[in-house]
Amino acid sequence: MLRARKLALALAAFFGAAVLRADDPILQAEKLLARKEYAAAERLLRETLEADPTSARAHGNLALALLPQRKLREAVDEGRLAAAFGPGSGEARYIYGLALKADGRPLEAAREFERAVALKPGEPAPLEALAEAYAAAEDDRAAEAYERLIGLEPERPALRISFVDYLWRAGETKRGNEAAAAALEHFPQSIELHALYGRALFDQERFVDASAELARARELGDRDAGTLSLLGNALWQSGRIDAAREILEGAVREHPQAMSLHQDLGRFLLSQGQSEAALPPLAEVARAKPRDAAAQLDLGRACEGAARLPEAEAAYRQAVSLAPQLSAPRYALGRLLVRQGRREEGQKELAVYQSLYTLAERRIFESESRRGEALLAWSELRAGKPAEALKHFESLPESADSLTGQAAALSHLKRHREAVEVLERARTLRPDSPKIQAMLAAERAHAEQRP
């Protein structure tokens, strides 16, 4: 869905484009758009275009009226007409790009955003759209676009957040952290930034730093259950056991309806060997989620730790019946039965567990070793050894990732036609990938240039 802010920006761009009389229907339509009266705006703009079918501004505004109504194809047509009748208009290119993006055509959208940025280099809206388009396509140019954008709008925390988020997703952990730290220097009171940075640090296993950022977010007023949960877990991981308990218990009091917090607290207490204390929160979760196997399993563990064996067995059995394909409840039940001297019953559950474990172990090895092999190929490509990289990518089982790697290597070897073929196969495996679409477009262009 097109964001209201972008609509407003696009409109603002048009307002600045030319001076119109107060009773001009285009101006009236723009007022309707600002009030989100899209259908009324559409009617008025269609009437206007009947009178002047060459008005780029009217076509652009009509596209903007159609987008929120999900009339995407028509919006694209109107956007194209706006661009055609206003070839020097950055606004028209931008609106056309927005329509293309909404219609699921990110590559064409990015091309229009590039044109819009070229025509209006000081305008943030098209540059933001371009940065987002590059980021979605995992295009390295996203970072530069975001940096330019932040230069244009240094006081918008949201841009910093998008930028650091992009860097982290792109695997540029260090640069992302630096950008986050810089953003926090600029916006030290931003709850969202502290929480986002804390979350990223947690994912990076920097639990001490994560707990500091998350605690700061909390001090600034963040009462989000997710933030509190993460803060409790970060403290736990940092070895600050008492503080973790205090946060998790406080979070449960503050959000009594948030079962995830009850679960966090219960699991934390279980890990500290405090099964009796873990029982109430985990029983609460099991009551609230009677069809959740994990909740039943947690409850069983707490009961078992508290020597309430019949209740533990009942909870484990419930978990097994809810999720027979899950291995953990089988293990818990089997072990409980064996320890109670019910060896044969326990053995049956443990046999199921063992077969599930064996499958999982094989899957882990296969995925891990494939990951290592793929990383080798990518590193070779980065090191300027495309032939070696291609050989390694080709040796991997066919997947969207391995085909993408093959295409990248073929591209480096200037074998663009083969790259196109490979990417076509990749696209069938992952049809919605902006990255594959972007690569495909680029390789096609190269292939057309080279006989």
Binding site: S238, Q272, G273, Y331, V338, F365, S369, L376, R382
Partner: protein, 540 residues
């Protein structure tokens, strides 16, 4: 996925004894060479082990230290393992050359035992690529008999353990292999953008099978892996110990594997093993997850007369304490006992049970050290301090600060326990990856004690596998086992040391030999090492 874990900074309690690193003072000068390369080959992370053995029969424990060297291995003097003779005056002398030891392979572990019952302790060394068995000639020298005795297998050998599996009086040999790293060249781990490598995790490598060699009784061995039912068991072994878990007189086998299920093999009739890893509860953590198992040990931690098991594990995992409930079933007490509560950021390798203060209960020493120079997990470091987990006598543990040597961070790997100065308390040798060897001398006041040196007749010469029970006048029963191979890539003093605390005497000492012979000594004198030769009841 991140596992959520435990208290990292539990304060260490006071300790009545102190461990002092005296390696340099006693001339145990050895620096491990791990051969780190930009390619980051996995063997470079392993460090090495060590073995205590009285190779010259003078009553003092000597020390064999395994060297790694350059990787891939090349004939390199830097890769030469070392044998240090205990001079009996508290110092050591490097006798490697004199003893005819020439192992310059990329070394892993060392495991001493008198495999041919000739009264001279032999030595098995595991290496990346193969093993070497050194026969002790009884004159201070050794001869490489590997090929002659039939130990020709190849692979990445790590842990080993000696035990008389079939009760024929000759020691059989279990050899653990880690992973198959032949395709390591196809893997990359690290930063693709910069090309900077780091070590790949074991999950990326296929596991391998371990091997069991039966002693033919004539000094040669035969591979009985298939007959014993072990040929289909694929693991990533780093620790192994023979231990009679059900006290049926037959040596069972426990193997710690890295990130896959640990093995507990129950000895059925002396010829075949039954896999009870999952059934017993010793294969995984309490939730059924495999852990990064390294060192292992076995012993009666809670004084209930059954041997328990423990495993040192990777960071963000607990060090495991499996309490033996009998009938091949164990309970995981890692959390409730406090044994695993300090694990957190530590990567555990060497693990030894020892009665540090001769109080009568087994404590645990754990040598820690990361495998990555720059650990990803915040708060974790490459060099880490070792842990001494103090046993309250009932199987409850807390960390104790027993001297500055235990507060110093090292990249710990193998560890082996011996009373090297024969003063009745256990000392610890610790190898470090890429660093100096440590000898942690046990200082301070401790309880009364009795040391026992077994000499087998019908059983194997060292009585490996024997069970000893000491009964105090107050009725306390202390059970100990004779082992050859435990911890991480190491083997300890085969003599048994009983700490007696404030008890001035012992009421009775019972030795159950691997042959099944039970020998009872009434009121043995304490405060000394007692040599006990195996004899039939009624015979001297």
């Amino acid at each position: 996925m991140i596992r959520l874990f435990l208290a990292l900074s539990l304060a260490a309690g006071p300790c009545p004894i102190q461990f002092t690193d005296v390696a340099r003072d006693v001339r145990l000068t050895f620096v491990h060479e791990r051969g780190a390369t930009p390619e980051h080959h996995l063997p470079e992370t392993m460090g090495s082990g060590l073995a205590w053995l009285d190779y010259d029969g003078d009553g003092f424990m000597d020390l064999y230290v395994v060297q790694s060297g350059r990787f891939p291995p090349k004939a390199d003097p830097k890769a030469q393992d070392r044998l240090f003779r205990n001079n009996g005056d508290g110092t050591f002398t490097d006798v490697t050359t004199k003893a005819g030891l020439r192992d310059a392979a990329y070394g892993m572990g060392a495991f001493a035992a008198d495999y041919d019952n000739d009264g001279a302790v032999d030595l098995l060394v595991t290496n990346w690529g193969g093993v070497i068995l050194y026969h002790n000639n009884g004159d201070g020298t050794f001869t490489d008999v590997t090929a002659k005795v039939g130990l020709k297998a190849t692979g990445w050998f790590t842990a080993a353990a000696w035990g008389d599996v079939d009760g024929d009086g000759f020691l059989d040999l279990f050899l653990a292999r880690y992973v198959d790293d032949r395709n390591e060249g196809k893997l990359f781990c690290g930063d693709v953008a910069t090309g900077e490598r780091m070590y790949c995790p074991p999950m990326m490598y296929p596991g391998t099978t371990d091997l069991l060699y039966h002693s033919n009784g004539d000094g040669t061995f035969r591979d009985v892996t298939r007959e014993a039912g072990l040929s289909e068991k694929v693991g990533k072994g780093l620790g192994a110990v023979f231990i009679d878990i059900d006290l049926d007189g037959k040596a069972d086998l426990y193997v710690a594997n890295d990130e896959v299920v640990n093995f507990l093999f129950h000895n059925v009739g002396g010829r075949r093993f039954e896999d009870i890893s999952v059934l017993s509860g010793t294969g995984f953590d309490p939730e059924g997850n495999p852990q990064g198992g390294m060192g292992v040990d076995a012993g009666d931690l809670d004084g209930d007369g059954l041997p328990d098991l423990a495993v040192a594990n990777f960071e963000a995992q607990t060090n495991e304490y499996y309490r033996n409930l009998g009938s091949g079933v164990f309970d995981d007490l890692s959390i409730s006992s406090g044994f695993g509560l300090t694990a957190g950021n530590f990567v555990g390798f060497g693990l030894n049970f020892l009665d540090a203060d001769d109080s009568g209960s087994l404590d645990a020493f754990i040598a820690n050290g990361h495998v990555w120079e720059r650990p990803k997990r915040q708060g974790a470091s490459y060099a880490q301090r070792p842990l001494l987990m103090w046993n309250d006598g009932k199987g409850h543990f807390d960390r104790r600060a027993c001297g500055s040597a235990l507060e110093r961070a090292i990249v710990g790997r193998g560890s082996a326990v011996a009373d090297y100065d024969n003063d009745g308390d256990p000392d610890i040798a610790v190898s470090t990856s890429g660093g100096s060897l440590l000898l942690l001398r046990n200082d301070g006041s401790h309880g009364n004690w009795l040391g026992v040196h077994l000499v087998g007749k019908r059983s194997n010469r060292q009585g490996i596998g024997a069970r000893l029970v000491a009964e105090t006048p107050a009725g306390k029963r202390l059970m100990r086992f004779v082992q050859a191979g435990n911890s991480y890539l190491s083997s300890s003093d085969p003599r048994v040391l009983f700490g007696l605390g404030s008890e001035k005497s012992l009421r009775r000492l019972t030795v159950t030999w691997p042959s099944g012979i039970v020998q009872v000594l009434e009121n043995p004198a304490t405060g000394r090492y007692l040599r006990i030769e195996e004899s039939e009841p009624g015979r001297p």
